[in-house]
């Protein structure tokens, strides 16, 4: 199939960006979206033009590096699927596709489709862990965890830190991201000890980074490639209120 692409091009963080038009020819439905961009890039390089810069690494939907807004939707049209796992069989010959970077105040564009997501790392650094040193811990089975709690923790822990939730939110909020880590650790007995401090530190950092607040649009859950539920934001709020007393 042949496609008509409009791709965001921006030289660096200080330059003005704009959408540029490109054609993609002979695209197979078995290609992934990124493989389609590879084909376009190979041609641009051979024509002496600069290829489109985009973040990607594992290409199996787990590293969280890929980050593109496709036709206005972070990670594109397929539910619970990262860009790298989106395949061209979901498009048809002659389609026009708009490709843009994550857009949020806390994610400045570095180049083309690449943004700076280090703000998410700093939220984790502020408290997204259990403060245990290596060594001197009890046997793994000394801490019993009900299957239900272990499953809840895992549901939250599968966040890949891609930032699609932020890109999808009209407020540019990182509440789902933060809620996922807070909920993962707060659901486990090991994580309860620091739960109050953790939620305060992480939310404070979240605000410092310029992320907006949650006003219940639920766009984050819809965009999340791992299907992380907004109910975790409720849990975050609950943990936050509990921490005040």
């Amino acid at each position: 199939m042949d496609l008509n692409l409009y791709v965001w091009r921006q030289k660096d963080k200080d330059s003005q960006g704009r959408l540029e038009q490109y054609k993609a020819y002979d695209i197979s439905p078995d290609m992934s979206f990124l493989e389609m961009l590879d084909v376009v890039n190979e041609r641009l390089i051979k024509e002496g033009k600069e290829p489109i810069a985009f973040d990607h690494d594992c290409r199996e939907g787990i590293c969280g590096m890929c980050s593109q807004v496709i036709n206005g939707v972070p990670h594109g049209p397929q539910e619970k699927t990262t860009v790298c796992q989106l395949h061209m069989r979901h498009f048809k010959d002659g389609d026009t596709i708009y490709i843009e970077p994550w857009r949020a105040r806390a994610f400045p564009v570095i180049k083309d489709l690449i943004v700076d997501r280090s703000a998410l790392d700093r939220i984790i650094q502020a408290g997204g862990y259990i403060s245990v040193h290596t060594g001197g811990v009890p046997d793994g089975n000394a801490i019993l965890i009900s299957k239900k709690d272990a499953d809840t923790a895992m549901d939250a822990a599968q966040c890949i830190g891609c930032g699609a939730c932020v890109a999808a939110c009209p407020n540019g909020s990182a509440m789902l991201f933060t809620a996922a880590k807070v909920s993962h650790l707060a659901s486990l007995p090991q994580g309860r000890v620091e739960a109050a401090k953790r939620v305060c530190m992480m939310t404070e950092q979240m605000l410092k980074e310029g992320f907006g607040n949650c006003s219940n649009h639920y766009e984050c859950e819809a965009a999340c490639p791992k299907g992380i539920k907004v109910s975790f934001i409720a849990k975050l709020n609950r943990e936050f209120i509990k921490a005040q007393f």
Binding site: E42, A53, Q85, L120, M154
Partner: protein
């Protein structure tokens, strides 16, 4: 030269404890005077950086990704082994040790493997304490599953995302130290050279991938935790950015590269769909617990799999290896798949695929149970192939997955260059010629959490802290070399892209240095690789400049190193006139087609020393001594 692995004396179960008691210590007040450079933030790198920082050392950590959390350990699906014996099925440290040595086809270092089995139990405890959400049973206890190459259940898992959860545990520990100021994290930064001063590793030269700036960092020791080199094959299950540059640059600075030909081809990957393919996706080996592998009995049978009756199917793993069946080790399963496809009984486009069928398991356990166990894997399969594996058998084919070879290290994980430590997949020591499933996570974390914190102190205690600074002429020279190379890559302005060359190299490697190797084929590879390399340096096109974010330039540097390294792999494969584990030489096989090892002549680690671009590398040997297991034919029948 005969290499000394510095294996401690004494009975195998006491070696590590005794050794730890003899290692020198750095007192707490002095630790803060030392700086350790850690390159790579996967399981080995993140766990090492965190543990070393917790002890009080200053750590400079580097990764090429935009965040430490994205290292490719994250993609490991199935699980992590540990000799906990929770299921009461007869496991022990000795058994895990024995299975790993046997699984590696008796080409690993006994003492290292035993230590790995010993600390495996601590890893699980550590990860639970960090909050890793391992699967639990209804009573709240940790759950286990079985994996290839083992007859018991010792694998701990977190759904199909075990690597992700373990890496996030280590990443969080690392993040805590970043917050406390003990780790300086450098994301989007790639190591391009190792700096050696007076014979000791004292720093690295890096490129900032955003600004293009080349800079140097000095330290009292360097830990390379930079993973494997599977991408030399172009198509592999590795992430796109995985590369050999860090370890290969260290090799060119004098570190020995051990067993580079030992590569693992994983049996359960999604088959290639076309020329455009950029990478291969693995389906966790845990699927083989419930899936049955088969091909049609008849050649060229194009019927829909569900229309092929039971008696016209060949469940070849169950037939050939009745006691291990579908759980036969990776090298054996992969070769068996290649054999049936070579016979013309492969399925799917091009005939390069075999079925992995869940129909029986669904009948026995119900679709819900299968969904609970493997739901995310089935979803992943459907996204890529557009097929529903609950209804139609999956199609799988082997793909390059892991590299057992790596920089040579002694028992302390120190290379032959003093002060250069190598951890995780980047070293060679624990998996021999074949790695068992769920052992990579175990090794990465063992090295980082429980080995390096002890062994690095012994080295540091013998050095003066911060003795070398970046103003040393060696740093300047190394930076100039790196800059000259970048300039050269940018100036060629040829006609073929970096990917064109990489793909071409990959085809040669897969064809001649892949699953089955022959003298003739390896010689073809040794002729073709230098030709491709020569053309690369004449005709590659790298757009843009060096002073900006330039992904083609990054790729060009990595592929340039692969083009040299590939030759070393072929040389090693050619010299090893035996078949063992993942290294199968067609000249050396049993009458039934199984690998024929030659313990008389090849029971050693082959460690190669760089002698110059136009000279052949020199082979050094570390003889492998087996005192606790009997060298035996590795049978899974």
């Amino acid at each position: 030269m005969i290499l000394d692995g510095k294996i401690p004396s004494g009975p195998i179960n006491e070696k590590w404890d005794r050794h730890r008691q003899n290692l020198k210590l750095v007192n707490p007040a002095n630790k803060r005077k030392y700086t350790i450079i850690v390159v790579g933030t996967g399981l080995a790198g993140a766990s090492a950086a965190a543990s070393l920082a917790e002890l009080g050392y200053n750590v400079e950590a580097f990764c090429y990704q935009d965040s430490a959390r994205r290292a490719h350990s994250i993609a490991a699906q199935g699980g992590i082994n540990a000799a906990k014996n929770y299921p009461n099925d007869g496991d022990s440290i000795y058994r895990l040790f024995y299975d790993t040595v046997k699984g590696g086809d008796f080409r690993a270092r006994e003492a290292n493997v035993y230590r790995l089995a010993q600390v495996s139990v601590n890893i699980i405890d550590q990860c639970v304490a960090q909050g890793v959400p391992f699967a639990r049973d209804y009573a709240g206890y940790l759950d286990n599953r079985s994996f290839g190459g083992a007859q018991l259940s010792r694998t701990f898992y977190a759904r199909g995302q075990t690597g992700q959860q373990l890496l996030l545990g280590a990443y969080q520990a690392l993040s805590r130290q970043v917050y406390l100021g003990k780790i300086r994290m450098h994301p989007r930064t790639e190591m391009l050279d190792l700096v050696i001063v007076d014979g000791e590793a004292k720093g690295i030269v890096v490129r900032d991938l955003v600004t293009g700036e080349i800079s140097a960092y000095s330290g009292d020791a360097v830990c390379l935790c930079t993973g494997g080199y599977g991408n030399v094959f172009y198509l592999s299950t590795n992430a796109m950015g995985c590369n050999v540059t860090a370890t290969y640059r260290a090799y060119k600075k004098g570190a020995f590269f051990a067993n580079p030909c030992f590569t693992q081809i994983h049996p359960t990957c999604i088959p290639v769909s076309g020329e455009h393919q950029s990478k291969l996706t693995l389906m966790s080996e845990s699927l083989r617990n419930d899936g049955r592998v088969w091909v049609p009995l008849k050649k060229g049978d194009t019927r829909h799999p569900n229309d092929i009756p039971e008696e016209e199917r060949d469940y070849y793993l169950e037939r050939k290896y009745p006691s291990f069946g579908n759980l036969a080790p990776r090298d054996i399963s992969s070769r068996a798949a290649k054999e049936v496809c070579d016979e013309g009984r492969g399925v799917g486009p091009g005939g390069y695929g075999v079925y992995l069928d869940f129909a029986d398991a669904i009948k026995r356990l119900g679709e819900d149970v299968i969904r609970q166990r493997y739901g995310n894997l089935f979803e992943m399969y459907e996204r890529i192939t557009g097929e529903d594996a609950y209804k139609v058998p999956m199609r799988i084919y082997p793909a390059v997955h892991y590299t057992m070879g790596g920089l040579w290290v002694d028992y302390n994980l120190e290379s032959n260059i003093r002060g250069l430590f190598v951890l995780g997949e980047a070293n060679f020591s624990d998996h021999g010629a074949n790695r068992l499933g769920a052992s990579a996570l175990m090794q990465g974390l063992a090295d980082g959490y429980f080995v390096i914190p002890y062994t690095i102190a012994d080295y540091l205690a013998q050095t003066k802290p911060a003795a070398v600074k970046v103003d040393h002429p060696e740093f300047k020279k190394s930076m100039e070399d790196v800059q000259a190379r970048i300039k050269r890559l940018l100036s060629i302005k040829g006609k073929k892209t970096v990917n064109d060359f990489h793909r071409e190299l990959g085809k040669v490697m897969w064809e001649y240095v892949g699953m089955a190797r022959s003298k003739e084929g390896l010689n073809i590879a040794l002729k073709r690789i230098p030709e491709i390399r020569e053309e690369f340096w004449q005709n590659v096109i790298v757009p843009g400049s060096g002073n900006e974010l330039n992904q083609e330039l990054e790729k060009a540097g990595r592929v340039a190193d692969f083009l040299e390294f590939a030759e070393l792999m072929a040389i090693d494969a050619l010299h090893r006139e035996e078949s063992c584990g993942g290294h199968f030489r067609v000249e050396h096989q049993m009458p039934d087609g199984e690998a024929k090892r030659d313990d008389e002549n090849f029971c050693y680690v082959a460690a190669w020393q760089y002698k110059g671009d136009d000279k052949a590398p020199e082979l050094h040997k570390e003889p492998l001594v087996f005192e606790n297991v009997k060298l035996a034919i590795r049978s899974y029948k």
